[in-house]
């Protein structure tokens, strides 16, 4: 059974902060389909690290301003 990812993200807020950029605009800029951007936003898909960096670069923010992971998971 597929599990939803525990990674959360702020892409929707970042898009609206960037002049109401559409999912399609973001998808075109990073070479994804609009559906994949939508799946990432909804937490249905964790993108590759490379795509994660591309998204952060579009909004000129750091990676952890785009993606968040719950504290405590994987900590020693």
């Amino acid at each position: 059974m597929a599990k939803p990812t525990r990674v959360t993200n702020s892409i929707r807020a970042l898009r609206f902060g960037a002049g109401e950029m559409t999912q399609g605009d973001l998808a075109d800029r990073i070479g994804l389909t609009r559906q994949t951007v939508n799946a990432i936003e909804q937490g249905k898909y964790s993108p590759s690290l490379e795509v994660a960096f591309k998204i952060a670069r579009v909004f000129a923010v750091s990676l952890d301003e785009v993606f968040q992971y719950p504290h405590g998971i994987g900590a020693p």
């Binding site: 597929a2 070479g31 994804l32 389909t33 559906q35 994949t36 909804q42 249905k44 898909y45 993108p47």
Partner: protein, 139 residues
């Protein structure tokens, strides 16, 4: 809905329709007379041909309706393809195993051919339905 998901739904519908009809007809023939006299080959080839034609036509139609999406393919599509093909691969392996068992038991060719075709069909149905599931549910 991504192009690949639409295409998977169309293929799934065609598979169920075409091979459902094929196995219903062959089943009727089987009930009506001896296995050795059933000329299933032309029907099997026709079913495969109809499916190929349907697949090509449906892809073209979906692409005409959504021209921009038709060429769009990214890392999520690739991952979903790999996962669904793996599920299809397992189903195919099990089906081929049954075909081999029938061949080793020197069962009529008719049954071996039907088993292998069924394996191919079930493998593709599993592949396409896994694809639809993964697009909808998330991976």
């Amino acid at each position: 809905m991504p192009f690949q998901e639409k295409s998977a739904i169309a293929t799934l519908g065609a598979l169920l329709l075409v091979y459902g009809a094929y196995f219903a007809i062959v089943g009727r023939w089987l009930a009506a007379g001896p296995v050795g006299e059933i000329a299933y080959q032309p029907l099997m080839l026709a079913a495969v041909a109809v499916l190929v034609i349907f697949a090509v036509v449906s892809q073209v139609l979906i692409a005409i309706v959504n021209p921009k999406e038709a060429s769009a393919y990214d890392e999520r599509d690739r991952l979903i393809d790999l996962r669904s093909e793996r599920v299809g691969g397992y189903v195919l392996a099990v089906g081929v195993f049954f075909g081999l068992v029938l061949a080793m038991g020197e069962i009529e060719h008719f049954y071996i051919a039907q088993t292998l075709l069924l394996a191919l069909v079930l493998a593709q149905i599993s592949d396409e339905s896994t694809k639809v599931f993964l697009y909808r549910r998330g991976r």
